[in-house]
Each structure stands twice: as C-alpha cells, then as structure tokens.
Symmetry: C2
Subunit: 257 residues, 2 copies
C-alpha cells in the first residue's frame, strides 16, 4: 500500500537541450547541484521519454525511409506521409484503429498509442532534413541503467519512471503515463487487501507508475519548456518491484482489442 | 500552460467516517486546523468520490430494488446480483461491454466505467442490509458547492476535484481520475501552442484534472484508510475553467465505442 502523507513534485531546473550520447545521470546531478538539492533514499525521478530517446539517438531521417506497400496502403487511408507510416509500422506489433490523420497502434513494447509513440514535435529540423524520434529501444532497461548510475552515489534505492503523454478511449485529453520504470512497483496488487469493513476489495491492481507519471507530466508541461525531469519525494511504495512493461495489457486479456 | 516547479500533495489527517448530511467544508476545516494548516489562494482539494457520495446519502438498499427484465437478462450473462445490475442500468446511458462478472457502462454523466461507478466496497452493512453507493448526483455541482463554501473564508479561489478510480482499456491497473471539478481547467487546450521549434503541437488537450486526481489517489490509497482528502499546493493552472464533464468524450466522437 502506498504510504506518504506529504509528497513533493519538484521540477529540475536548467536542463540543457539533450543530444545523442548525453549522460542523463550527469545532467541530473548538475541540475540538482544548481538547485542545492541532494538525492535522498527513496526519491523517484520521472524523466520525459523525449530526452531519453534523444540521449539514445533514436532519430530516423524520413529521407532514409523506403515506404513498404503496407505503409503506402495505410497512407491512402489516413493521409499521412507514407515514410512516417512505414516507421510507425516498423515500431508496431498491431494497428489497432485508423481514421483520417489518426493511427492508433500497439507498439512492440505492448503500449497502445497514437503513431506508436513516434514524435514529430520538438524535433529539430537540420537544413530541412525531417527527422522523427522513436521511443527508447528498451525503456525499462533505460530506467534501470539510470537507476544504477544514480544509486551509485550512495544507498539511495531510487525509483525511475520514463513518461510519455497518451490519449485514451472514452475520455478527452492526454495524460502522462509510464513507458519505462525501475526500482518501483509500477503495478501494485491489492489482492487480499480487505476494505475498511473486511470485505474483499473490487479493485485489485493500482497503476502506481501511471499515477506518478501523470502528476509529473503536469509539471513538465506539454510544449517542451525545458522541465523534462521531475523529482518526486515523500512517497513510500511497498510491494514487489515491477517494470512499466507490467502496465501493458496483453491483447489476449484486453476486452477492447 | 500549467506552471509550478514545486508542487505538494498533502493528505489531510483525522478525517472521521462520513455520514449522510456531513458538512465536508467543516470536516476539511477541522482537519486543516488539527494539522495547523491554512488554505492558501490557488490551493486545490481533491476529495474521494466515496465520501462525497456518502455525505449526499447516495445509498441504495438492494432489498428495495425490483430488477427489470433487462437487469435479469444482464444477470444471466454476467452472473451478478440482478438487483445490483438494475441499479447499474438505472445509472447508465449505455452498456459498453460485458463479460462474466464484468459490466462496463457509460454512466449518465458520460463517464465510461465498471458498474457505472457503483460501489460495494467500504460500505457498511447494517444488520446484513446490503447497500450500494452511487456516484454523486452532479459531481461538478458538488465540487462547485464545496468551492463556494470554502472560498468564503477569504479570497481563496480554490480548485476542487472529486476523484474515483477507473480501469482502462489497453493498460493494467486502475488510476484515479476526475469525475467532478470546480475552479480549474479540467481540460486545457494546447491548440496554437507552438513547440520549442515553432511547429504546431500534435497534442491539443491535456486532461489536467485527471493528472491531479491520479496523484491524489495514490496518497489516498485504495482501501479507505481514512485519507480521502488531499490538498494540492503550488500548481498554477492558467486557462478557462472547465468542469470534469469536459473530460467525458461523447460517444459520437469516440473511436472506441
């Protein structure tokens, strides 16, 4: 059961533009030093997918992409650049739904999202050369590597979440969700926890990493104002550590695919 | 654009069990006084749906419910108490999906949720008398009334969110979402906000109230440990005030209904 009666979300300041090869642990250390903050045991850091992908150089130049017949067919339906759609298809295990100018796809990581999470905003165009940015290759692995690098500073046992903004069926607006995590129970099972009156609860699992990712996303803002890293302090999460992959519902268990 | 580089989520302490007719504004005032806290301008209070419904006496005794033919038919499919399903149908505008022991319905308020949000956990049984708890009749109205009562203490311009925990397609686990809100832009439009490189953003609307509701839900916990009210401090939300009703996507605009 999550404990914490006073939880702080702190946006790290002066995060410079991230380039391929960037050492995010060093970047975080510099920002914290500038804010006279030190990491404490149990702190959680939420990192925007965009800067993780940039640090991993997950760019694709559309001029290098040869659209497949499937991409050309999809382009005829949705009316997007077939080269972009080719990249979407390469990143996806399934196209869930299409509409003019909309492609909802299941990313190979299992997350169902618009354009398989491929980003065309906040990407620099170099001499008109159009690039798109893919999700990190292995967001849980990226989170774990960052955790190991930052934990090294002491007995910190940090939590790391990599978040992105997803649209949802049934509700308007996007919310931040976790696509990668380390050191926390991304999904916390409530099975067997009785309610106040001893009855078994209906709710069985809480998507803890998504709830943290959403609140952090709110501080980050959506237009890349340079606050892509949020420190979360005061939350104590008991329960077995689970990566963000645990949040992806398999198609076989999904009533809505 | 949401602003706030340091945001605190504070769980109010010593909230007694809420009974029908309870004055939630007074309850909040007493808790804050006990914690030596005072409301500040721009504070946001997130209140668990359960205690709002209880204060409004939104109980239904199943022994008073006569199942309709539709409820009996649904019971044959999903295998739940036909009286319970009768209440679900009365609260719903549409049954979206059913499976054994699962009914996903569109509540008349527009929110798509399991059992139309009707709660059988954390409800006292009085001499074996089985009661269920409905959502507040008008959660946005409940939030607005609470805002007016609390704003009266000064020039506070508080935000109020009433939250509940929903499951989601595609992702495991439940997250807190807003079913009622007052004094905040529940949904913030990003239309026209250029990204860092001047391109128009893909993301057009942010479900701000849901992102706050989820983080608050995490502090509340899910088993009713008596922390049903969370104070959110440090968030500055610019944009036109919109109720939580703005978060419910109309069926006509929903690709997934």
């Amino acid at each position: 059961m999550p404990v914490g009666t006073r939880v702080e979300y702190i946006a790290l300041q002066d995060i410079r533009r991230v380039e391929p090869g960037e050492d995010l642990a060093a970047l975080i250390g510099q920002s914290l030093a500038g804010m006279s903050l030190e990491l404490q045991r149990g702190d959680i850091l939420v990192i925007a997918q965009k800067i993780v992908s940039k640090s991993e150089g997950r760019y694709v130049r559309l001029s290098d992409v040869e659209p497949s017949p499937a991409a050309l067919e999809l382009a005829a339906t949705v009316g997007k650049d077939p080269r972009f759609l080719e990249v979407v298809l390469r990143e996806s295990s399934e196209v869930v739904k299409t509409r003019p100018n909309v492609v909802i796809a299941a990313h190979r990581l299992g997350f169902v999202m618009a354009n398989a999470g491929i980003d065309q905003s906040n990407i620099e165009h170099r001499e008109g050369e159009e690039r798109v940015l893919l999700l990190p290759k292995d967001p849980d692995g990226s989170a774990q590597r960052l955790k190991v690098a930052l934990d090294a500073a002491g007995d910190l046992n940090l939590g790391i979440i990599i978040n992105d903004s997803f649209g949802r069926p049934w509700r308007n607006g996007v919310v931040g969700v976790a696509i990668g995590a380390a050191g926390i129970p991304s999904l916390l099972s409530q099975i067997g926890v009785p309610d106040m009156f001893g009855r078994a609860m209906r709710v069985t699992e809480i998507a803890i990493a998504d709830e943290i990712a959403g609140a952090a996303s709110l501080l980050m803002g959506q237009a890349g104002q340079g606050m892509p890293i949020i420190l979360v302090r005061g939350l104590t999460l008991d329960g077995p550590v689970l990566p963000a992959a645990a949040l992806a519902r398999p198609k076989s268990q999904d009533m809505f695919r």
